[in-house]
Each structure stands twice: as C-alpha cells, then as structure tokens.
C-alpha cells in the first residue's frame, strides 16, 4: 500500500517535471506561437520544409510534395529513405496515410502574399486536424531562411556542430563569393527572371522570391516589373507574348521547377524578341525551392557559369 502510494507520487512528480522541463514553443512565420508538451518527434513536413530540415539532421516521418517526388526540385539529392510520402500534387495530401503517421507537428512555410501555408488554405485546414502547423516564413533571403531553419532544427534537437553542416556551409560561401565576383566583373549585365506559359510570359517580381533578393544583394542587376497582377498570381506580372521584350535583359533566368517551362518558352515565336533569349543567354532560376546550403551552392555555381559566359551588352 505504502509502496503503491509512493510509486504513484513518484510517477506523478516525474511526469509533471518532464512536462515543464520539455515544453516546446515556437513562433512560426505567421506570427502564431505553437506550444507542445514536449519537443515533437513525429513531424510531417512540406517538401520545402523537409529540404530545409533534413540536411540539418531533422528527419520528418512524412513529406507532402508539390509534384511527383522525382520532379520536386526541393527534394533533389536528399536521402528520403524511410520517409513516407503523403502527397505528390500541390495542395493534396493522402489524409489517411498522414493520420496513420500520428504526427505531433506539421511544418510548412508561411507565404505572406498568399496569406497561406505551403499547399494553400484548404490543405492547411485539413492538416491542422491532425496536428498544429508551424514553420518559417518564405522571407526575403534564402540565407535568412536557412538561419531560420537552423533555429527551428536546434529547437527540435538537431546537433548543428555536425561537420557535414559546416562543410555544406563552406561550399555555399565559396559559391556565393564566386558569384559575387562574377557579377562584379560585369557591372552592365542585366537579368530578368521569368516563367513561361502557352498563354503568356510571367515576369517575376524579385521582391517576392527570396533567392532573387539574395542574388540582387550580391550585386546582380535584376529587373523588376512595373507592377504585379492585382489578383491571383501576385508574384508575377503577366505579359502577352506580344510584349515579350517589354523588359530587355542580357541574361534570362527561367523558372526551373519544371523542365517543360523552358520548352514552352523556346516554342514561342516571340521568345527571342528579348535580346538575352535571342543570344541564348539563358540560365536556370531556382524558383522558390532552395532551402539549404548544398542546394544553394549548386544553383549558384550554375548561375556563376552563366554570368561568366554572358555578353553583358546584348540588351540596350
């Protein structure tokens, strides 16, 4: 009897202690604070959040991707073994599969201009029935977002002193320095970031894309469109193909989330109205998907090569 009572007291004490000691709090990109009794272990992450967290040693139990995993640029080169894929289409999740993973937390990314988490509001409503959602904001700098992911990963128990992380970072810094030097060597070079559709050419507003803002801050002369569309696609200005040369540039960066985007662009007769496109000075724009040092280093190396090869005087 006495034993039992003592045991009960001890048990009670340990659980209370554990609860107060390990309570986990995080303020997400939407400004909301999520508090859990303990640091979450079973995490379902959006493809972008997974791309930010996996290289830092945090492995989610499930990932929802925006496209077939094989085509998801964000997940390229990451070890996904043992991770359940619960969605392979934007804004779609196999909710039964996700529920079976018994997640403690959903991690997405907050998109300010859309006022939504990765995958949109409908998906968020669905996922938050399983667990609270949080994550970093798609901010004005990939470098800043990687730092945000480090903070988040550390709070989830990651060991950031892992030499692999430092090596990735060194690679990124070298790539960044090479890019800065290449751009500095061509002060007259102008660049334009676009997405191409059958119906229209979409010019990206650099202020809406963190990687473009980073490129700008390292000296790339990126052209901003006059305005973005008021509704819907408010990260771009839509141009009729008749106006494909509205913003002439030396180097055209084409959204590389899908390989068919460049094919679509090349098939349009007025694509080459833009002097950069006519001179075939075209490079990949790693649009909205770079979330870790290794990926950014890879993308930067390709951009540096394109800048070095480009003639900076094809556009007026």
């Amino acid at each position: 009897m006495r034993h039992a009572a003592a045991l009960a007291v001890t048990l009670l004490a340990t659980t209370t202690l554990a609860a107060t000691a390990q309570e986990w709090t995080y303020t997400g990109g939407d400004g909301q604070t999520v508090t859990l009794d303990a640091a979450p272990v079973r995490i379902i992450a959006s493809q972008d959040a997974a791309a930010g967290l996996i290289p830092l040693g945090i492995r989610p139990v499930g990932i929802y991707a925006d496209s077939a995993v094989a085509d998801a640029k964000a997940l390229e080169g990451l070890d996904l073994s043992g991770i359940e894929i619960v969605g392979q289409v934007w804004s779609e999740v196999d909710i039964e599969k996700a529920a079976a993973l018994e997640p403690d937390l959903i991690i997405g990314e907050w998109w300010d201009r859309n006022e939504a988490w990765s995958g949109g509001q409908d998906l968020t409503a669905l996922l938050t029935q399983l667990a609270p959602i949080t994550g970093v904001a798609a901010s004005d700098s990939i470098v800043g977002m990687i730092a945000d992911y480090e903070t988040l990963a550390e709070s989830l128990g990651a060991d950031l002193s892992d030499p692999a992380i430092a090596a990735d970072k060194a690679d990124f810094e070298a790539a960044r320095d090479a890019f800065t030097a290449a751009v500095a060597a061509k002060p007259d070079l102008t660049a334009l970031a676009v997405y191409a559709g059958d119906d229209a050419l979409y010019v990206a507003d650099p202020k809406g894309a963190a990687e473009l803002l980073d490129l700008q801050s390292w000296g790339l002369n990126l052209i901003s469109p006059d305005g973005v569309d008021a509704t819907g696609n408010n990260y771009f200005e839509t141009l009729s193909w008749e106006n494909a040369d509205k913003y002439p540039a030396d180097l055209i960066l084409v959204d590389n989330r899908s390989a068919s985007t460049l094919e679509t662009a090349l098939a349009q007769p007025t694509w080459t109205l833009n002097p950069g496109a006519a001179a075939e000075q075209i490079a990949d724009w790693p649009a909205y998907w770079v979330r870790n040092s290794a990926a950014f280093a890879g993308a930067l190396e390709k951009l540096t090569a394109a800048v070095e090869a480009a003639d900076p005087s094809v556009a007026p």
Partner: protein, 345 residues
C-alpha cells in the same frame, strides 16, 4: 415560312438581297480580320502593320509579332469561328432544337474528357497532342450519343438525340470533374486549354486541323438542302423523298468534324455556335441554304471581335477569348430571345 409557296419574282428579289447581305458580311469579316492584325496587347502603328504585311523585315520586332503571333491567331480565329458557326447551325437544323450547339450532342464534353484523360493518365502536356485527343473524343462521344439515341423502333429522333447528348454530357462532365478535383496537376495543365483561347497556337496546330475544317465545311454546306427537309419534321422530310437516317448521319458527321476540329484548335468555346445561327436566321428566314453561309461569316466576326477585345482590355496581359465570348454571348443571347420569339425550327 413561305419558301414552299413563294412565287418566283419575290424569291429572286430575296436571293439578291441575301447575296448582297453576304457580301456585306464578307466585307465586315475582312475588316475584323484586319483589326485583328492591327490591334493587340502591344500597340503597333497601322503604318508598321501595313509595312509588315507588304515588306516583311525579319529583323523588325513589330513585323515578327504581326507574322508570328497575330497572323496565325487571326487565321485560326477565322477558321475556328466559321467552323463553330456552321456546326451550331447544322446541329440546330438536324436536331430541330433551338438550343443545340456543339455542347448538346456531347461533342465538347467528349473532347474535354479525352484531353483530361490524356493529361491525367498519359502525361500529355503539349497543345499539339491535345488536337488529336480532342478530335478522338468528339467523334467518340458523337458516335456513342448517336448509337444510344438510335435504340428503339423510331431511330434517332431529334428529341432522343438531345436527351442522349445531355445525359452523356452530364456523365462525361462528372468524370472530368472527378479527375480535376482529385488531380491538381491535371487542372493546372488544362485550365488554359479548357477556357478556350486563340493565343499561343502555332501554325503547326493550324496545319493539323485545317484539312478537317475544310472537309467539314464542304460537307456542311452540301447538306443544307437536307437540313431544310429535316427542319420540317421527319414525316414531311420522308414525304419529300428524303432518307432521314442518312440525312441526319451526314449532318451529324459534318458537325462532329467541324466542332471536333475547332475544339481541338482552340479549346471548347461556348456560345458562338449557339448564338450565331439565331442571328443568321433572324436575317435570312428559315432556309438553311442561307443560314449556313450567314453563320459561317457571322461566327468568325463574333469570335475575332471578342478576341480583339480580350487583347486590349487588360494590358500588358490578355483575357482569353472563351471568357469574352461567354461574357458578351450570354447577354446577347438573352437580348435576342427577348427581342422576338426565336424563329421556330
């Protein structure tokens, strides 16, 4: 109304008047086509447009826009418009249904379903592959609708055709919606096609569908006399010595070829095929030998006019022609219905 009993002199007068009308329409169409070359999302001075057409210079940006974008677009608009007008008129005559258009016999639904299936399950993403899918789907749907309507002793009557078309369209649209609801990727791929647009179509697509459009148009104009018989009802048509099964099959074939090819080229464009034959009929009276050529000229006027409008109302972008025809077609149709009772079919 009086075609059967009209005496020769007024009839000749009427023919002269209607021929003159056709000439006027042809001139209007030429004017609209010129407008379609001259007006676009990018302002190009008329003088430059003229020089681009008469003395093409491959290094001049404006010249390339006229030749590479506006010319194909205008030609496609002309052909697709003519095809939609003819298809609508033929279908209204053959089914004796004033609301018939390529959507009533399941042609649009069939074409859309085939494209959606191709995108969703076979990963087809190029506009040029949609052409064949849309064509197959349109033909397949029409065949099924016709076979279903032919069941029973009295064969494919207009009412049964319309009912079978509506029912099968409903079935196909639920399948389409089912696929689109569960596959965001497919929706993204075909959203642009599904609205209906003349933009971004290359000359290749034009070459793919033009033979069909020509065959369809010739066939449609050839069945005009048969439609006049059918429009008086099966019994009268039979009494006049027509084999109504063959008449209807030929008209249906013409409509499928025209609607299928136009849908393949520009996506399912609503209201043109429905509205234009009524306008034509209000000018010409009930004879299909006049309704068909009038529809063939009026429809591209409407379609190209709508496309030109869509190019200039939201610079520097554009509004797709399918949206514009729906926006101006619907009120136009209501006005038409209210102005006077639709000429009985």
């Amino acid at each position: 109304m009086t075609t059967l009993t009209a005496s020769a002199p007024p009839r000749a007068q009427k023919a002269a008047r209607l021929t003159l009308g056709l000439l006027l329409l042809a001139m209007m169409l030429a004017a609209i086509a010129a407008l379609s070359l001259a007006v676009g999302a990018r302002p190009i001075p008329l003088e430059t447009v003229w020089r681009a057409l008469t003395a093409y210079d491959a290094t001049a940006t404006e010249h390339r826009i006229i030749w590479d974008l506006r010319l194909p677009r205008t030609v496609i608009g002309l052909l697709v418009g003519a095809a939609l007008g003819l298809a609508g008129a033929v279908l209204q005559g053959a089914t004796r249904n004033p609301l018939a258009d390529p959507s009533i016999l399941g042609i649009h639904a069939g074409a859309s379903l085939a494209v959606v299936l191709g995108v969703a399950f076979f990963g087809m993403t190029q506009l040029s592959s949609y052409v064949w899918l849309a064509f197959l789907g349109a033909g397949g749907a029409m065949l099924v609708v016709y076979s279903v309507a032919s069941l029973g002793r009295e064969g494919a009557t207009p009412v049964k055709l319309a009912l079978a078309g509506a029912a099968l369209s409903a079935v196909m649209f639920s399948v389409i919606n089912g696929i689109l609801l569960t596959s965001q990727r497919t929706l993204d791929e075909i959203r642009f096609w599904q609205v209906g647009s003349l933009a971004g179509r290359s000359m290749d697509i034009l070459f793919q569908v033009t033979p069909f459009l020509i065959v369809g148009a010739v066939l449609a104009l050839a069945v005009a006399r048969l439609l006049d018989g059918l429009s008086m009802g099966d019994d009268v048509a039979r009494a006049l010595g027509q084999r109504i099964g063959i008449s209807r099959a030929l008209s249906g074939l013409a409509a499928v070829i025209l609607a299928g090819a136009s849908t393949a080229a520009a996506g399912p464009i609503a209201f043109v095929g429905l509205t234009v034959p009524h306008v034509a009929r209000s000018i010409t009276g009930p004879g299909y030998r006049w309704i068909l050529p009038y529809s063939m000229l009026l429809a591209p006027i409407l379609l190209l006019g709508a496309d030109v409008l869509g190019r200039v109302i939201s610079p520097p972008g554009e509004v797709q022609v399918g949206i514009v025809t729906a926006l101006i077609g619907a009120p136009f149709f209501i006005a038409l219905v209210r102005r006077k009772k639709l000429a009985a079919l």
